[in-house]
């Protein structure tokens, strides 16, 4: 038996990597962290980026409650599932017992931990989703509540400033709804995940 077959795969790979002559370690120092480009964290920039990614803003009308606005935009909705206290809905996300149940949700409402102005992205983790990680993606449409105070400028700012990337087990930045252009290059919003994503400043 050769020496390699006696060793674990891990040790073999490590040994091969350590035996290499190039690239030499000393020749490639770790570059310092950079923060480049536009760091504007304004709601206006977020809105423009969200539109580019196929997401929408849902502005509230005068004296309108959030739930009223959702019902106005989705008049035919039957199941409104909510992960936020501001909206009562037809059921709470914690009440979903099976994924099949989530598959029948027309509209899901969640609150994002923060947003990224550069990309129109909103961040969701197991905290905001109450551990219902897949269910948010099974719903047909997504409404996201986002505070204007929780915006970062660009992706450098996001990774450097937001603690969630180090605390969340699952963390997704969603920029607009699911999309595909896999058939003859035609862009289709609403591929396998949510068909639409709308943000309400709240």
């Amino acid at each position: 038996m050769s020496e390699e077959t006696m060793m674990s795969a891990r040790d073999v790979i490590m040994q091969r990597l350590r035996a290499k002559k190039s690239p030499q370690e000393g020749a490639y120092p770790l570059p310092p962290v950079v923060t480049l480009g536009d760091q504007d964290a304004s709601p206006e920039r977020f809105e423009a980026s969200l539109a580019l990614m196929g997401g929408k803003m849902l502005p509230l009308q005068e004296d309108e409650e959030i739930e009223q606005a959702i019902r106005r935009v989705f008049p035919e909705m039957r199941n409104l599932c909510t992960a936020v206290l501001e909206v009562k809905g037809t059921l709470r996300i914690e009440e979903l017992e099976t994924h099949e149940q989530a598959d029948k949700v027309d509209v899901m409402v969640v609150r994002a931990a923060f947003g990224v102005a550069e990309t129109g992205g909103i961040f969701l983790s197991e905290v905001e989703l109450k551990d219902h990680l897949a269910d948010v993606h099974l719903a047909q449409h997504l409404i996201v509540l986002l505070s204007k105070d929780e915006l970062v400028g660009n992706m450098h700012n996001a990774y450097q400033e937001r603690p969630e990337f180090r605390t969340a087990g699952y963390g997704v930045l969603m920029s607009g709804p699911s999309a595909t252009a896999d058939i003859q290059g035609v862009l289709i919003r609403g591929a396998q995940g949510v068909r639409s994503l709308s943000v309400i400043w709240a």
Partner: protein
């Protein structure tokens, strides 16, 4: 796996026969390239981002053992099972064992080039484990039993009518649908029950973060987030070169990736996995499969910097006009042509020649891989190893001798001018001249630059030179 050289030029010629396919393919990829340019042009920091991305990758590759250990330690601390696979076969056995231990038999899978590289489906399916691709393009390729044509858009070589025929066969939809929306909806409806019933989720991953033990998956359709989170078991396969040192480094790569790929500022979903979900189990398989060997190759190790954006494919005139299937490999286009020979030098010996050497691939690469230089270096390596065909080899030798001697070269050129003017076509256009198969040879010129210069400038230039000296 057959060891015969992939007949790239022949397969490309087949692809080019159908005008609608040829035209769409070229236009679609060029459109992606132009959208990438638009993003680049509005970002003054673009070149600084590329430089930083390149330096970060070079540093990480130079210190790979240290960062792999750091990743493993942090991932284990977070409750992730970390496995190591020397090659594709070992990877596939690990997946099989995990499923058997759980009594599982159905995998719902998001797109990952590396499981294709390992030929995982081919291994698992005869053992009674079903593997369903959930990415639309990858699913189309799976149903048609083909390799992905492109790392980002796997079915880009197909038209709507092709997809309609495939879906009609497997999803029983109307074979004459010519609306991509209706077909995408058919895929959504077909995928949902499979997603809901799958017992194991599999994903690839774009980045491993050593500092936190996390991995990142960038997708657009939402299928990876469904595949990973619906079942209680999530297995992720990543190559060992996917590491970045710090969470803060991700900003650089995420800002470059989708802009380079599709010209969109970011993928619709950028997903960070750091821990198994509540009540779930998570496995990460780190695959070598030739990477450690490639890292030791002086001329080729920087190809491991690749983040699989496909920008080099979109810009390559040869790729756009030959189609991914003609490369006969999981990785096609310029990046495929420089990494495929490390898997099998004989089989992929034709690919480094599928280039005009225009260097555009190198210019668009977000991590600054010198792709066209490596294409050139591969040609040299393959010639030394006698992996190129006789005619090409002999003609190259003759050309080499000729170009090395100015007097001989000039004599030959004046001879060629006469030949181009006077020789019959069958002498000029034959099997020794594949270049002339689709092209006309250049018109003979009345006078070469050299003879013009000798007549008009040489004496004057000499005189001028003397004046300056005085």
């Amino acid at each position: 796996m057959s060891n015969r050289p992939v007949p790239h030029a022949k397969l490309a010629a087949e692809f080019l026969k159908d005008e609608p396919h040829r035209h769409f393919h070229d236009e679609r990829l060029w459109d992606m390239r132009q959208k990438r340019d638009e993003q680049m042009q509005i970002m003054p920091e673009w070149q600084a981002l590329r430089e930083q991305a390149s330096r970060l990758k070079e540093h990480t590759l130079a210190h790979l053992p240290q960062y792999l250990e750091q990743f493993e330690e942090n991932a284990r601390r977070n409750g992730i099972h970390v496995h190591w696979a020397r090659d594709g076969a070992e990877h596939n056995r690990i997946v099989e064992t995990i499923l058997k231990d759980h009594g599982h038999s159905s995998i719902i899978k998001s797109k990952s080039m590396i499981t294709d590289e390992c030929e995982m489906r081919e291994y698992l399916e005869p053992k009674g484990i079903s593997v369903t691709e959930t990415d639309l393009g990858e699913r189309i390729q799976q149903l048609d039993n083909q390799l992905p044509s492109h790392v980002v858009v796997p079915a880009v070589q197909k038209l709507t009518t092709d997809v309609a025929k495939t879906f009609a066969k497997y999803y029983h939809t109307d074979p004459d649908i010519d609306d991509p929306h209706a077909l995408a909806e058919a895929q959504r409806n077909a995928a949902r029950p499979v997603l809901l019933s799958g017992d194991t989720g599999m994903t690839g991953g774009n980045f491993l973060v050593a500092e936190t033990g996390s991995f990142v998956v960038c997708t657009n359709e939402g299928n990876a987030d469904l595949s990973a989170n619906l079942p209680d078991l999530h297995i992720a396969t990543l190559g060992i070169e996917r590491l970045v040192p710090r969470m803060a480094d991700l900003g650089v790569f995420i800002r470059l990736l989708s802009r380079s790929a599709l010209g969109s500022p970011i993928t619709q979903y950028t997903t960070h996995f750091r821990k198994p979900k509540k009540g779930g189990e998570m496995h990460v398989i780190l695959v070598d499969n030739g990477r450690s060997e490639r890292l030791g190759m002086d001329d080729f190790w920087t190809s491991l910097k690749c983040i699989r954006c496909g920008a080099c494919m979109n810009t390559c005139p040869v790729y756009r006009r030959s189609g991914g299937q003609s490369y006969g490999s999981v990785y096609s286009g310029p990046i495929g042509a420089i990494i495929d020979p490390t898997f099998n030098a004989r089989k992929f010996s034709t690919l480094p020649f599928a280039s005009t050497m225009n260097g555009s691939c190198t210019n668009v690469c977000p991590v600054k891989i010198d792709i066209h230089d490596q294409l050139y270096k591969w040609r040299r390596v393959l010639a030394e190893r006698h992996e190129i065909p006789f005619v090409k080899r002999e003609i190259m030798k003759m050309a080499g001798r000729l170009l090395a001697q100015p007097t001989m070269y000039r004599l030959a050129i004046s001879g060629t001018e006469v030949a181009l003017k006077t020789m019959p076509r069958f002498v000029l256009y034959n099997y020794l001249n594949p270049w002339g198969r689709h092209r006309e040879l250049p018109h003979p010129v009345k006078e070469t630059f050299h003879s013009w210069y000798k007549k008009n400038r040489l004496n004057k230039a000499g005189a001028q030179h003397e004046e300056t000296q005085a």
